[in-house]
C-alpha cells in the first residue's frame, strides 16, 4: 500500500516544489575560456572565448539581491573551465562570507595539490570531475594526449579528501561504452565513492559527431549496467537526472526523475543572462543581471520552466508518460522547440527495432558489436 502511494505522492511533491520554487542551486558560468577542446562540449567552449570572464563584483551584486537565501543554497562554479580563473579562491571566500556554500565542475586538468589546498581553504565543499573513459577514449574525447594522466591525478587528490563531497561523471558514448566495467574498477582503485553516468545530447559541438550518441540497444545496455552496479555498495553508481527512463526509473537513481531547472535550479550565465542549467537553450533566458534584479526575475518569471504544458507537442503530445516525465530534461528542448531532442524512455522501448550490427570508425577503430543488456551484465559480474 505504501508503495502504491509513492507515485501520486511524488507527483504532489513535485507540484508543491514547483509552486514554492525555492532557489537551492545556482550555477555561475564564471568563464567560457577552456584549456581543452572537447568533442562533446555542449557550450562550444574554446581557448579563445568571445566573452571575458564575468567580474566577481558583478556576480556578487546579483547574488546580494537574494532575500533570505535558502539554507542549503549552493553556488556551482562552471564554465568553460573554472580553474582558469586566478581569483577562484577569492570568489569562493566571498560566497562563503554570505553564508552560502560553493562547489565546482572541472575537467581536472589544472587541479594539482597546491590548488586543491587553496580551494579547500576557500571553502570549497563539493566537486565534480569528468572522466570519459580509459586513457585512449578519454583523450580522444578531450582531444588532449595529457588529459587522462592529469585527470586521474586530480581524481585521486579529490577522492582522498575527507572534506569534499566528490563525484566523477562520465559521458557515455560509442567509444567508451565497452570500457564501463574497467572504468568502474579504475575509479574504485582511485578511492572514488560516487560515479554518475550521462549520455551526450546533440547540442553544441556534439551535434556533428554521430558516434557520440548511443544506439537504443547501447542505451538499454547502459541502464542494465547501472542497475547491476547499484547492487554493490563499493561505488555508488547512478544515472544522471538528464532524462526520464521509464521502466528503469527505480533502478538507476535514488529518486524518480524530476527536472528542477527553473524550479530549484537557476543560473547566471557568462553574458549576465538569467536562466536555469547552463546547457539549456539560451533563448530561454528570463532576464539579465545587467538590466534586471536577479531575485525578482527568479521569483516572478520562469513561467516556461514552472508550467511545462507547452511541452505537450511533437512526440510528447499524446504520450501517456507525460505526467511523470513532464517533457523530459529541459535541456532537451532546443532550436525551434517543436519536439524533444531525446526521449530516453523511448530509447529503452525501441530497443528491438535497432540494428545490432553497427560499424563505428572513431579514433579507437571499429567497434563491431554494441553491447546488449546481457553482455553488460556479464562484463560487470566477471
Amino acid at each position: 500500500m505504501f508503495k502504491a502511494l509513492r507515485k501520486p505522492a511524488f507527483r504532489l511533491f513535485r507540484e508543491s516544489e514547483t509552486h514554492l520554487h525555492e532557489l537551492n542551486y545556482l550555477f555561475w558560468e564564471c568563464t567560457t575560456r577552456c584549456n581543452l577542446h572537447c568533442r562533446h562540449c555542449g557550450s562550444d567552449c574554446s581557448q579563445d572565448s568571445a566573452f571575458p570572464d564575468m567580474p566577481l563584483e558583478d556576480f556578487l551584486a546579483a547574488l546580494d539581491t537574494i532575500e533570505k537565501p535558502a539554507k542549503n543554497l549552493t553556488v556551482v562554479l562552471t564554465g568553460g573551465e573554472p580553474l582558469l580563473r586566478k581569483d577562484l579562491e577569492k570568489c569562493g571566500l566571498e560566497i562563503r562570507k554570505r553564508g552560502l556554500r560553493w562547489s565546482m565542475v572541472t575537467n581536472g586538468h589544472l587541479y594539482d595539490g597546491e590548488r586543491h589546498g587553496s580551494l579547500l581553504g576557500a571553502g570549497l565543499g563539493a566537486l565534480t570531475i569528468s572522466l570519459d573513459g580509459l586513457s585512449g577514449s578519454h583523450n580522444w574525447l578531450r582531444q588532449s594526449s595529457a588529459s587522462y594522466d592529469r585527470v586521474t591525478m586530480a581524481i585521486a587528490l579529490a577522492a582522498a579528501s575527507p572534506r569534499l563531497n566528490f563525484d566523477v561523471v562520465t559521458c557515455v558514448n560509442q567509444n567508451n561504452i565497452h570500457e564501463l566495467p574497467q572504468i568502474r574498477e579504475t575509479l574504485m582503485n582511485l578511492g572514488v565513492k560516487a560515479w554518475r553516468l550521462f549520455t551526450i545530447i546533440p547540442i553544441g559541438r556534439a551535434k556533428d559527431i554521430p558516434e557520440l550518441r548511443l544506439t537504443d540497444a547501447q542505451f538499454t545496455g547502459l541502464m542494465e549496467f547501472i542497475a547491476e552496479a547499484r547492487k554493490s555498495e563499493e561505488l555508488k553508481v547512478s544515472f544522471s537526472c538528464e532524462g526520464y527512463v521509464g521502466p528503469y526509473e527505480s533502478l538507476v537513481r535514488d529518486t524518480p526523475f524530476f527536472c528542477r531547472a527553473g524550479i530549484n535550479i537557476g543560473s547566471i550565465l557568462i553574458d549576465g543572462s538569467i536562466s536555469a542549467c547552463p546547457n539549456i537553450d539560451r533563448s530561454f533566458a528570463q532576464g539579465n543581471i545587467y538590466r534586471d534584479n536577479f531575485y525578482k526575475v527568479w521569483q516572478l518569471r520562469f513561467e516556461p520552466f514552472r508550467n511545462r504544458h507547452w511541452m505537450r507537442r511533437g512526440q510528447c503530445a499524446g504520450c501517456s508518460e507525460f505526467k511523470d516525465c513532464r517533457g523530459n530534461g529541459f535541456h532537451n528542448w532546443h532550436g525551434d522547440k517543436q519536439n524533444v531532442l531525446v526521449c530516453h524512455s523511448r530509447l529503452t522501448s525501441n530497443r528491438q527495432e535497432t540494428p545490432r550490427e553497427i560499424k563505428l570508425s572513431g579514433a579507437l577503430g571499429v567497434i563491431p558489436t554494441p553491447p546488449d543488456r546481457s553482455t553488460m551484465r556479464s562484463l560487470l559480474t566477471r
Binding site: L5, R6, K7, A9, F10, L12, F13, S16, E17, L20, N24, Y25, F27, N72, T74, V76, T78, E89, L93, R96, R101, W102, S103, M104, V105, G113, H116, G117, S118, L120, G121, A122, G123, G125, A126, L127, T128, S161, P162, R163, N165, F166, D167, A194, F198, S240, C241, E242, D254, T255, P256, F258, R260, A261, N264, I265, C277, P278, N279, G329
Partner: protein
C-alpha cells in the same frame, strides 16, 4: 512555516529526505558537511608587524591559505574535535625568514579567531 511542513510531509511520503538532496544533471553534489572558519593575523614577534607570504594550513586535510600584505588569513576547514594549524614561511626573502609554528584548536566553533606571532630565524 506551514508550507515547509507540508513539503516535508509529502516528500517523506514519497521518497524520504533524499528528495531534498539533489544535484543538477551537469552540476555537483550538494555540500552538507559542517565546517569552520579559522581566521586571524600573523605578525612578527620581533617587530610586531604583519607578515605576508605565510602558508597557513591544516596538514591533515591539505586546506591552505597564504597571508596577504596585512598578514591576515581566513581558512575553511572541517569541523573536528581538534584541528592542527600549521604556519610556515613560504617566501623566505620578503619579510625575512620565520620559524615554522604549529598550534592546536581544541575547542571547535563555527568561527575561530587565531592570531599568531612568528619568531624570526
Amino acid at each position: 512555516m506551514t508550507r515547509g511542513w507540508i513539503r516535508k510531509l509529502i516528500g517523506g511520503l514519497s521518497f524520504g529526505s533524499a528528495l531534498f538532496i539533489f544535484q543538477a544533471c551537469y552540476g555537483t553534489p550538494q555540500d552538507l558537511q559542517f565546517d569552520m572558519l579559522v581566521e586571524g593575523t600573523v605578525k612578527s614577534s620581533a617587530t610586531g608587524l604583519p607578515v605576508k607570504g605565510i602558508k597557513v594550513s591544516v596538514p591533515e586535510t591539505g586546506s591552505s591559505h597564504i597571508t596577504g600584505e596585512d598578514g591576515k588569513y581566513g581558512l575553511w576547514t572541517m569541523f573536528t574535535d581538534s584541528t592542527r594549524i600549521s604556519f610556515e614561511d613560504t617566501d623566505l626573502t620578503t619579510d625575512g625568514a620565520f620559524l615554522k609554528k604549529d598550534t592546536l584548536i581544541a575547542i571547535p566553533q563555527e568561527r575561530v579567531q587565531l592570531n599568531v606571532m612568528l619568531t624570526p630565524k
